[in-house]
Symmetry: C2
Subunit: 127 residues, 2 copies
DNA sequence: TTCTATTTTTAGAATCATTCTAAAAATTCT
DNA sequence: AGAATTTTTAGAATGATTCTAAAAATAGAA
């Protein structure tokens, strides 16, 4: 692990908001002002390959990076806000239904966040 | 609905293999040889926006399009093969755990397909 | 039908996240 | 130290997708 990969790993582990490569790059530049974007991409790739970080792929957005710890994702259908929830592990249940083992699963749920719910409520009253 | 959107919708509904925009474009050209890529993208976007088709976003691949009918996805970790499975609807269960309603969910599971399992087995015997 | 408005298609340029390339620098191994 | 490997760098390249502005098609109203 180099100073860059260590730092990038730290940034991801300690951020609760699923940063993009660009955001990580910006933050890393505060510490190492000469670092280059490719270094961030290289390290993210290596960390992900090594199974040290998760990649969260959302439509129409640059990839986001996330800590490994088991958890699921909630995405607001309106504003796209991404948040974490930890539901009970479904692995057993899924394997039982499939009748075979799985390696992992990725569960994303869409909902309407409080802010967007409030907005929608307001609109309804306006009209 | 225009001839193009109708046809594109048909292609997606009748294909079991989650086609990319490019693949749909190639197939559409067999019927309408002068059609242009942008038309495929435009129509895919409209169909998706209208909730008539699903978009399957996988890492490092162009987006794939899928029929709407409720089902989940299995992805081979090795070769990337994508297949459909229909497990019991988890909505109730998820909502109960979350304590709030959700709009939809997207469940992707990774596994090792038969082919890749066989390959891995063979390698193990070779070494 | 004829005029007008809206939607769709087209061609090609533009975008933008990400990957690639090849050289330089840093690190590790012997 | 010297050689080999890994990482970083700068910048070009890639490639899926979106955008733009004009042309064509379609739908609606008179």
């Amino acid at each position: 692990m180099t100073k860059y990969s260590k730092q990038i790993f730290q940034i991801i582990e300690h951020s609760r908001d699923h940063m993009t490569a660009e955001e990580i790059f910006q933050q890393l530049r505060n510490i190492y002002p000469t670092v280059v974007r490719a270094t961030v991409y290289n390290n993210l790739h290596r960390l992900w390959e090594a199974g040290s970080i998760r990649k969260v792929v959302l439509e129409g957005q640059p990839d986001r990076y996330d800590r490994m710890e088991r958890h699921d994702h909630l995405i607001c259908k309106q504003c796209g806000k991404l948040s974490d929830v930890t539901l009970t592990d479904l692995t057993q249940q899924l394997e039982a239904q499939l009748g075979m083992p799985i390696l992992s699963y990725d569960l994303k749920m869409t909902y309407l966040c409080e802010t967007c719910q409030a907005k929608q409520e307001a609109e309804r009253n306006d009209v």
